[in-house]
Subunit: 301 residues, 2 copies
């Protein structure tokens, strides 16, 4: 859905997609991306594979219970024959940041391992990139893989700590907003009835995801994590409340492991400026996102 | 104010007050308590001093910037001549739990050091006590001494971990509710104009506290941390939302140190039962507390 939001926006020049381990292994993620781009008629978008595992850990096998064994709800997409980029994700990010100096907007919707590797590769990166939007974390909302940790941060807290510490302007789109904007069965049915192959495929993918969310939400539906982050990044939607505040990652092995520790202590007086803060944290959207997303996805081929 | 709420309730038999380090050192806290009880005409209530410092740490000097150097806003109360209990706080708690088996309700409004010491002294304590109400922690609200930690837990996280892990029924009254119920200048003026010496003294104490809160709240006023916990414990007020959920204390030295990690993941489906959970967490009160507290304190002698 996030890729769909990006491709549907005529104002966005999609210069590359990089993949990482996460819900599935990095190769499966790359294959899914190539196939989806082929279905969308965009074989021109380069795809580079990146991290296979978190810093200092093994890959835990992903989240087949959430997204199906192949990460796209178990559905099959037509095979894509073209190859991945010859360079890995981190190298690709660094090269593109230099090619598009000051204009590259990075949207991270998985563990932050590729971005941390790119920072390691080129310490000047934060000054070259226009903005980094991260889907991940939870400020005041509960976590989803522990009481306080969201999956993308939990999956590589050491990488996340490096990315949130880097001095680039960031936006954190966490569970505070993504759990408040939901697709439900009528949205899925509209996608399934669409003329385009991409929205139909997305509608099919959502079946497994809706089933996962049923006990959490009390009905068949799903949060709109990644597409909301992408829509905020492209400017398709507006945040009503997004203070720029300090964010620290709990990279300990304690009970707070993987938490985004967001300093919201200014909430009682309108979030006064915090020295050293460079991350906007999305706390509230201006408008419902689901109708916007539905219309956007229905426009895809 | 919490002591005032307890003494004002004819249904409460106040069997003892124990003190600990916290906003001031333990001896100053004991002296303040003796003097306040004398002013309230209650020299019959035993006072026992307890922990002088957190487990494994030195006392950090307290919070003179919040409560004045003596912990009661720098005001002087008439001296109290009677002595403290000959036994320390932990011994006193254990003795009273056995004397009033199944009926003792412990209300903790400081660091949990005395309660942890009592648990150490008598491992059967959780089965002897009716209920433990703790003012402390923050579930979804920001912390007050770090982005995620509230002062009472922060002041002795190791003790707090022991108390929250013990198998007694508990209620956590944290910043989620205490920062939502405030005294403002008209409340303080009403106390200053009261016939009773106790409410007048409380009104005077609040001057320093209101000044501390002015930059946080944007106006002169104060949160009602301890009195709200006490009023919940006595049944004077009702919680509208208080799910029984797992609570774990971050006793690491990481950025989450002192956090009450409250498992609110059930929030989207009405907080289904969590196995092993024995702590109600106050998230919302049924009614505004400030008017209730004001009327209660005005009744004191």
């Amino acid at each position: 859905m996030a890729i769909g939001v990006m491709l549907a926006d005529p104002g966005v020049d999609t210069v590359a997609i990089t993949t990482t381990f996460g819900n599935v292994d990095v190769q499966q993620a790359a294959q899914n991306t190539l196939e989806l781009l082929a279905l969308a008629g965009r074989p021109d978008v380069p795809v580079a594979a990146g991290a296979t595992h978190p810093i200092g850990r093994e890959f835990d096998g992903g989240a087949p219970q959430v997204h199906g064994g192949n990460g796209i709800g178990g559905i099959s997409l037509p095979a894509a024959s073209r190859p991945l980029e010859p360079t890995a994700a981190a190298e690709t990010i660094v090269r593109l940041a230099r090619e598009h100096q000051g204009r590259l907007h990075i949207v991270a919707t998985g563990p932050l391992s590729n971005l941390a590797a790119a920072l390691e590769l080129d310490p000047e990166l934060p000054g070259l990139v226009e903005h980094v939007t991260v889907m991940g974390g939870a400020a005041a909302a509960p976590g989803n893989v522990s009481p306080v940790a969201e999956a993308n941060i939990w999956n590589d807290p050491i990488a996340a700590a490096a990315v949130f510490a880097a001095a680039w302007p960031m936006t954190m789109v966490g569970l505070d907003v993504t759990m408040r904007h939901l697709f439900t069965e009528p949205d899925r049915e509209a996608l399934l009835a669409a003329p385009g192959a991409v929205p139909r495929a997305i509608g099919e993918m959502l079946d497994v995801y809706f089933a996962f969310y049923e006990p959490i939400l009390g009905f068949r539906g799903s949060a709109l994590h990644d597409p909301l982050a992408m829509a905020i990044a492209t400017g398709a939607v507006t945040m009503a409340l997004a203070p720029t505040v300090r964010v620290e990652i709990d990279a300990t092995e304690g009970p707070g492991r993987g938490q985004t520790i967001v300093d919201l202590r200014g909430k009682y007086s309108g979030y006064p400026e915090q020295s050293g803060a460079h991350c906007r944290v999305a706390l509230q959207m201006a408008d419902p996102f689901a109708p916007v997303l539905r219309e956007t996805l229905l426009r895809l081929p």
